[in-house]
């Protein structure tokens, strides 16, 4: 704010300044820690150190005794701390259990497959116990743990697409009206009223989608399954509207009044000025609004968990029940064994989600920043 500490500042002042600076780094630290600690739980799996095969390959006791300690630890899938705590007897008994398991394991072509390898996570595979139509399967509970991420990604994209198609036109039109066309007194009321929508908790929107909207939309469109990507998308759109509206409205308002006044002076009507002058000038901001709306939609949990039906099937139809990445984490983490492959894979998709939203946020933020600099005449 233009006022600077004199050169004879007292030590208390100096200490206080350093303290305030350090505390203000919390936000950076937190973003960093979020990524590190979500990724940390997913790391063993991403590096291919986990084995989720129903029947794991086992080696005889003589071979086990010959292994180096580090190899033994890897073979028994122990953490270094756990490995240190165990004596030789405990390790031998673990190896024996492993050998027993291998003998009793199901004789099945997929029984020895480590389903956490990347090619099973993303590629297609014909499982011995699922129908030939399902080549991408998410089915963590069962004899063979199937962790294909494709149905979840498609599910997330489907609901997000519906949400954006529903919310973006509405929110943009409202932003143009409120920022350009509405009388000033009305504007004072409209803006906070629309932003009230963001005060409705997402669990309430999910409840609304599940209990009220689902029956209503089924009555109107008459499709088969009551809960589907379409219902979840519309309910999700309600959560996205205030995000897109706020940012687009902010971008449109930051276009200098002189632009509009010049257009009006040349004989343009109010709508022409809004449509042909203000909107093109604020176009990057509108784009940023859509990008940030996408980030909000793909990361929303409770709405999708409650209104989408949660069936992890691949289907291009919007009216089939669907399951998103976020809903999968919310629904399954409580039941996953702590530190097991299911647990780690949920952290892995959480980390992917974090990366996607991190990039969309960063992009949206940069675009808005540039736009404002340009409109304020700071750009070179």
């Amino acid at each position: 704010m233009g006022i600077h500490r004199g050169h004879k500042a007292r030590p208390v002042e100096w200490l206080a300044e350093k303290f305030i600076f350090l505390v203000s780094l919390t936000a950076i630290l937190m973003v960093f820690l979020i990524f590190v600690f979500v990724a940390r739980e997913a790391l063993p799996l991403a590096l291919g150190q986990m084995n989720s095969a129903a029947a794991r390959p086992a080696i005889s006791m003589e071979e086990f005794a010959k292994l180096k300690p580090a190899e033994q630890q890897l073979y028994l899938e122990l953490t270094p701390a756990e490995f240190k705590r165990m004596d030789k007897e405990a390790l031998d008994s673990l190896a024996e259990v492993r050998l027993e398991e291998a003998k009793e394991a199901p004789k099945d072509k997929d029984a020895t497959v480590n389903t956490t390898e990347w090619r099973y996570l993303l590629g297609e595979h014909q499982w011995s116990d699922s129908s030939p139509l399902d080549r991408y399967v998410w089915q963590p509970i069962g004899r063979i743990h199937k962790y294909n991420l494709v149905p979840l990604i498609i599910g997330s994209l489907k609901t997000t697409l519906v949400a954006l198609l529903f919310s973006v036109p509405l929110a943009l039109a409202a932003a143009i009206y409120v920022s350009q066309l509405a009388p000033p007194t009305l504007k004072e009321w409209l803006k906070p009223a629309i932003e009230m929508l963001s005060a409705v908790p997402s669990v309430v929107l999910g409840f609304f989608g599940l209990i009220i909207l689902a029956s209503f939309l089924q009555g109107v469109f008459g499709y088969q399954s009551r809960l589907n990507a379409f219902v979840a998308g519309i309910a999700l759109g309600l959560a996205v509207i205030p995000v897109v509206f706020s940012i687009a409205e902010d971008a449109l308002t930051s276009v200098p009044r002189s632009y509009t006044q010049a257009a009006l002076a040349l004989g343009a009507s109010k709508w022409q000025a809004a449509w042909q002058i203000v909107l093109p000038a604020a176009a990057p901001g509108v784009f940023a609004a859509v990008v940030l709306g996408f980030g909000r939609a793909i990361g929303e949990t409770m709405v999708v968990l409650m209104a989408s039906g949660n069936a992890s099937i691949i289907s291009m139809s919007l009216f089939d029940s669907t399951r998103s990445i976020t809903a999968t984490i919310a629904a399954e983490l409580a039941e996953a064994v702590f530190g097991g492959h299911h647990y780690r894979i949920l952290f892995l998709i959480g980390a992917l989600l974090f990366i996607v939203t991190f990039l969309t946020n960063l992009a949206g933020d940069l675009i808005m920043h540039r736009l404002k600099d340009r409109l304020e005449g700071k750009a070179k």
Partner: protein, 316 residues
């Protein structure tokens, strides 16, 4: 005689009697605005209408001891207390850190420096992290890393399990941007003249901030706190794995106890009820309680914020 009609229409504004394009454009955008407000109205009215019948003093102060799916016996007091406790605990962490960060950004930071830009970027980014990722973070960092470290050597986990403390801390991380942005806005609304006057009278910078700037910015700090409480009060995803309990006989007694939560209870009632038709009245009443809590908090924040903005316009 008919020379008047053959004349071209005079150019200039207000020439045409009726401008259809203008009418259509204003109409469409205005209708979109109206439609959004209508949906909001329908949601609120529907919940108020269906929830009001069951929404009574007995419902608000009743416990869930008997049967939480029984219309005549169920109450939401334990959930109300759980939600209140977790957001109060959260404000203890988030308000000081948020206010100090805002003070740094407005009073000390050089706005073009790289550090400042990174802090701002981090704040904006934190605001966009999905709530479920906060839940994973709370589990991975607070519960298994910090809780696990505190438990080192113990046989029974005392810290390393879901608890109200960890849920509050997770929510504090999530709402940090709200507090920072609101406080910053109100700090910027204070005229530089006030600071300069204080410094001219011989006060140091720290004294000026503590005795002049922060008291002036109090409404904005309040707004930030209220917004954070309103947002955190309704969030469910971050507390799913960090502390919320499906059912507990007792209220939380210490920071390491789990708690029942209003928002989580809405989720349970809508998805795990044995008979959705029968429990419908409790569900609507619980949603109404949650909405009243979050909307009234937000309304207060909006009013306080409007005042701050008016002051800013008057000041500059």
């Amino acid at each position: 005689m008919n020379s008047a009609s053959s004349k071209p229409a005079p150019l200039g504004f207000r020439s045409r009697g009726f401008d259809f394009a203008s009418f259509a454009f204003t109409g469409i955008t205005g209708l979109a605005t109206l439609f959004i407000l209508l949906i909001l109205g329908i949601i609120l009215a529907n919940i108020a209408w269906h929830g009001w019948g069951t929404f009574s003093w007995r419902f608000l102060t009743g416990s869930a001891d008997q049967d939480m799916f029984d219309v005549n016996k169920a109450g939401v007091l334990p959930m109300l207390i759980g939600t209140t406790l977790r957001v109060m605990l959260m404000t203890l962490f988030v308000v000081p850190i948020g206010v100090i960060t805002a003070v740094y950004l407005t009073e000390y930071a050089n706005s073009t420096a790289l550090t400042t830009r990174i802090i701002r970027g981090a704040v904006n980014n934190l605001a966009g992290v999905p709530s479920i990722v906060f839940g994973l973070f709370g589990l991975g960092f607070f519960i298994s890393f910090i809780g696990g470290a505190l438990d080192a050597g113990a046989t029974e986990p005392h810290w390393g399990k879901p608890a109200i403390l960890w849920a509050s801390l997770t929510l504090a991380v999530m709402t940090l941007p709200l507090v920072i942005v609101a406080t910053e806005e109100s700090l910027r609304a204070i005229t530089p003249g006030l600071r300069e006057a204080s410094l001219a009278l011989g006060a140091t910078k720290l004294e000026t901030i503590l005795k002049i700037v922060l008291p002036e910015a109090l409404p904005g700090i309040l707004t930030g706190g209220i917004l954070a409480v309103g947002r955190a009060g309704g969030e469910v995803a971050p507390i799913l794995f960090t502390g919320a309990a499906y059912y507990m006989r007792d209220l939380p007694k210490g920071p390491t106890d789990q708690f029942m939560d209003l928002g989580y209870h809405v989720f349970i009632l809508s998805t795990q009820s044995p008979d959705i038709e029968k429990t419908r009245p409790i569900l609507f009443a619980t949603v109404l309680a949650l909405l009243l809590l979050t909307l009234s908090l937000n309304l207060v924040a909006v009013i306080v914020r409007a005042r701050v903005r008016k002051k800013m316009r008057a000041g500059h």
